[in-house]
Symmetry: C2
Subunit: 389 residues, 2 copies
């Protein structure tokens, strides 16, 4: 195993673009990433495309990567589709990392896409029979996290206002991110006063659906030295997945804890070393719970962490300077690689008006899944990636 | 990079089982593979699930591997979905191979599943708009290969009888394979007299749709020595993919040629060394063309190769002793790993009444894709895997 570096990243503006073809997001992101890497597209030796719902929404369950790369003039190399719920993009990134770390390939491309604004055959069910039943009974993601929020409030005294502060912080950061789906601020009152989705989660407490693409070029040290003035090292690339049956502790996401444990152990980097992080804030409560499960604070202290401003840009560990899923947007397969793009920009010092002051270590965290049964077992996948300059 | 071995394989009987859940095929195959490997399920450190159409057909685009492994008591490890058309299973196998070859993991599981006999929301289109249009215009896989057959007949004098011999041979082999979807013989007359699908391809010239699962346990040499008396070495694991625009030569599948080239180069094994092969005979003409593109014979001599019996069990290079896709069946995601299972059984000498005499080197070949546009560009993926004992 050898060290792997990111030398190019690119992404599209996130938002709703129903007039576009889902491939276009990938093509734009790849062109940008390859240009950013300063390499000829012919250098790409292997590619992975991450997407979670293009089969059900656009009838493209396979071949997404092949079709995208054709537009870049790349053909013949190994290209595969990779899926892992909301972590599909970061799982594709991880496969690219393994391919380079193995010594088998020198340059790999990871691309993630999704288009949630349009779907083939409107109105048909999206999930399998069991899931469909659960969804019709109300067990959608918002319900899962609303339950978690209620329990967190009960056990640790977390408040609705603290949760709203997550949305306010991330929307504030997004104002400085030209790629973000929403670039205007909100207040605590507006978050709390927006329409109720599942109590206590209001509309502005939930990430939007949207479309977009993101891509990254990964390479060996030899290639990094040759083409990049500012290669970013991938210090760890952990994936935890499987089925977690809910135990006594309803306020912990074990899949996050396990991925974080693996990433910290692999790299020797601890949560105290992280200077900027992109965290999976699919709902406001998610970010608070992930602070805890990633080890940024003790269990139960996530609410206090957002309230004291420790995760603001300028705070102890700035979280989601990009705006996060809540404001930058969440086109599933693109999200994990867009997080990487933000951390790479931050570590390079290229994040413009949302730049964190001189960070040397960054983390991305992406978690997804669904509930398998009424027993509330959770089928999930979570990546925790660490980067250093 | 280090050597990788297969120490366990398992598969379900292929066929149409609409009463089953798609996960059941994977669970049965994994149980068998792990039992065959003689290891505790807890040894599995990473897993990949290959499936091509479970998103569109069963609403399971992600999480297939997680749900299967839950039944085996495995959770927390990295598990991903991998898709690549008909090569989805062999692409999952390849990812598992890279994971072990990299030195990062000692034991990996690859599982492939598909269930084509049932589909959620019957009647809805399966492909994206462009593909749907092409399909409605008649550009289905059978059309693609019928065009290829017509051209092959024109250029090289290949006959309908020679093509039918492929179906006859593979059905004969399948009579001795308890896992095969069809276990009764057919004659040349029956193949030629079966209903026409696309001229010159009749019903018995096309592989059936069906359901099934297959799994393999891959490991490092240390683990292989400890648990297996007959580990089979993975000598090469090549994947070629991308978009191939049809050039002047309509009788060549470039994606197969390229994967074969990579596999032979990587391993130092040549086509003349292959003693048993499982080849992607989705249609009778496919097997004939793949003989040529895999280098088993010269271009244009595939028809003669089947006619002279060189690919019979007992011939120079026995091809599809399992019965192939034409008779064993073709549940997309399962096929690539079921091919590996057959070759492992053959190399171990465990193939019963269809055993090839003492082979030391085996090959599997799996190719899939679809046509992107009316210009007949082919979005494809092809694996060529080499094994030796």
């Amino acid at each position: 195993m050898r060290k792997v570096y990111v030398i190019g990243i690119g992404m599209t503006k996130f938002g709703k673009f129903p007039e576009k073809n889902v491939l276009e997001f990938g093509i734009e992101a790849c062109f940008k990433a390859i240009k950013d890497a300063n390499i000829d597209p012919k250098f790409i030796q292997i590619a992975y495309a991450g997407h979670a719902r293009t089969g059900q929404l656009q009838g493209r369950e396979c071949g997404v990567g092949q079709s995208i790369l054709w537009d870049l003039g790349i053909t013949g190399i190994p290209i595969s589709s990779v899926g892992n719920f909301c972590s599909s993009g970061s799982t594709a990134f991880r496969e690219a990392w393994i391919a380079v770390a193995s010594g088998m390939y020198d340059v790999a491309l990871a691309v993630g896409v999704e288009q949630l604004s349009v779907r083939l055959g409107k109105g048909r069910p999206l999930a399998s029979d069991g899931i469909e039943l659960l969804t019709s009974l109300g067990f959608a993601p918002a319900t899962f996290f609303a339950n978690l929020a209620a329990r967190h409030m009960y056990e640790y005294g977390t408040t609705k206002e603290q949760m709203a502060m997550v949305a306010v912080k991330n929307r504030r950061n997004a104002c400085f991110n030209p790629y973000a789906q929403y670039q205007d601020g909100v207040t605590i009152e507006e978050v709390l006063g927006s329409p109720m989705v599942v109590n206590p989660l209001t509309l502005y407490s939930c990430c939007p659906t949207g479309d977009g693409g993101a891509a990254a070029v990964l390479c060996s040290s030899k290639i990094a030295r040759r083409f990049s003035r500012a290669p970013i090292e991938v210090a760890a690339c952990a994936l935890s997945s499987g089925v977690y049956k809910k135990q006594k502790d309803y306020t912990t996401l074990f899949v996050t804890q396990e991925a974080a444990r693996q990433a910290y152990e692999f790299s020797g980097i601890g949560p105290e070393d992280v200077e900027v992080a992109e965290v999976h804030d699919c709902f406001t409560i998610s970010e608070i719970v992930h602070y805890e499960d990633l080890g940024f604070c003790k269990k139960g202290e996530g609410g206090k962490m957002i309230e004291t401003g420790e995760t603001n840009i300028g705070g102890k560990i700035p979280v989601n300077p990009s705006g996060g899923l809540l404001s930058k947007g969440h086109p599933l397969g693109a999200t994990g690689i867009a997080q990487v793009a933000e951390i790479v920009w931050q570590l390079r010092g290229e994040a413009g008006d949302r730049q964190v002051k001189d960070p040397k270590v960054g983390l991305t965290h992406c978690a997804g899944g669904f509930q398998e049964s009424l027993e509330l077992a959770e089928v999930s996948a979570c990546t925790v990636l660490l980067f250093k300059k």
